[in-house]
Symmetry: C2
Subunit: 231 residues, 2 copies
Amino acid sequence: MKSGPDIAMVASLVGDPARANMLTALLSGRALTASELAQEAGITPQTASSHLAKLETGGLIEPEKQGRHRYYRLTGSDVAGVLEGLAGLAARAGHMRVRTGPKDPALRRARVCYDHLAGDLGVQMLDSMKRQRLIRQSKEAMELTGEGKRFIAKALQIDADALIHPRRPVCKACLDWSERRHHLAGTLGAALMERFTELKWAARDPTPGSRVVNFSRNGEKRFAALFGTGE
Amino acid sequence: MKSGPDIAMVASLVGDPARANMLTALLSGRALTASELAQEAGITPQTASSHLAKLETGGLIEPEKQGRHRYYRLTGSDVAGVLEGLAGLAARAGHMRVRTGPKDPALRRARVCYDHLAGDLGVQMLDSMKRQRLIRQSKEAMELTGEGKRFIAKALQIDADALIHPRRPVCKACLDWSERRHHLAGTLGAALMERFTELKWAARDPTPGSRVVNFSRNGEKRFAALFGTGE
DNA sequence: TTCATAGTTCGATCATAACCGAAGCATAGG
DNA sequence: CCTATGCTTCGGTTATGATCGAACTATGAA
């Protein structure tokens, strides 16, 4: 009787708190070992192993053997997209996890969303780029303008032509769960994030599963000079 | 320790097969009564009532009382988007539901995806519109061209300016799980689907939770004349 | 070789939640 | 009023699956 993809199968994989914690940790875009993920989820390695096997056969993550470690990563950005979508629904319904930790404000200010910048600063950046006409939003379409291309070349040494990718857009709006507005994804979003870390304006928090991005004093100033809100 | 939206909460709601069936039925865009949804999921009304209450407090569906009936609908197209995303992941991993029913081929040919056309014909239509330069896809951006505006006005009496909506794009690519390619969503996609039914080219299958779209003989011919593949 | 660490498999326990029968409200229509 | 229908609440049963202890395999280091 029933046909079509078995969405309950996939959703139930994400529906377990331990697995959801693991997947959220992997949203950082980094590959993590089985034990790191176990710690992240607050469970023993045995239990984690069982969960990871399920996630793997479910096609959500893929392993990479390296010595005696097994590194796991998300199988693609489409998985990340669905996870972010679920986060959006949860945030909209006001279903936050109760234990709000000390890192929460930092997470809301700046975090990595798979491979690009999200949070308050991420939203600010996209806003500013639109205001400065570096990005044009016509209807739903987002595009880097000529001025935008010159801007990223001059200020950040990013070649716009190098951003073109067969399977991924240059500019893409990504809904930010903490701000409930859009930030910039796509190859441009990824390139900018990479540039910020290269320039040491910002660095990912070193703790394994963390998505927090810490801006240096100088980096924050430079960032504000380019994308500041106080015009 | 943990912070952020509770994605496990939402995902586990979708993760139960009975609830997933209900949600999939609601993907048709129609509002369905509690008993229709119970039948759709193959469970008794008591059980369904409990599930529906959970989905409601989870913010995925909303009720509307009408006499002694309670009609339920999805709370928004963002919910539909996440459900389609999950379907995409399931299809990619090859996790189809085993019981492939007789309606399956019809479902793959043409179905409604919330409020627009999906399936083989939906993908064909978008392809054809691009080929005819009615829609231009620059990088990731999709836009209705001038020629496209004239075309929909002349052939289908759709006013392009009336499609502009503050919170919804005109053209939007939506991943099709059965074809693994994009079809057309957005206000234009919805308007086209509406036009097809008004013109009696196509009609939704009358059985409650069905997403199947049946084209009439004449409708299929007219559709092919506009968006046919055999050029 | 021996030891330590990373990860898995097995078995048993235990809690959650899906399910239905029966009874209880509410609305519509006589 | 009474009756039928749509839906919900309550209680008890049952099954699934998350969890961990213990034992096992594999890789690397000494």
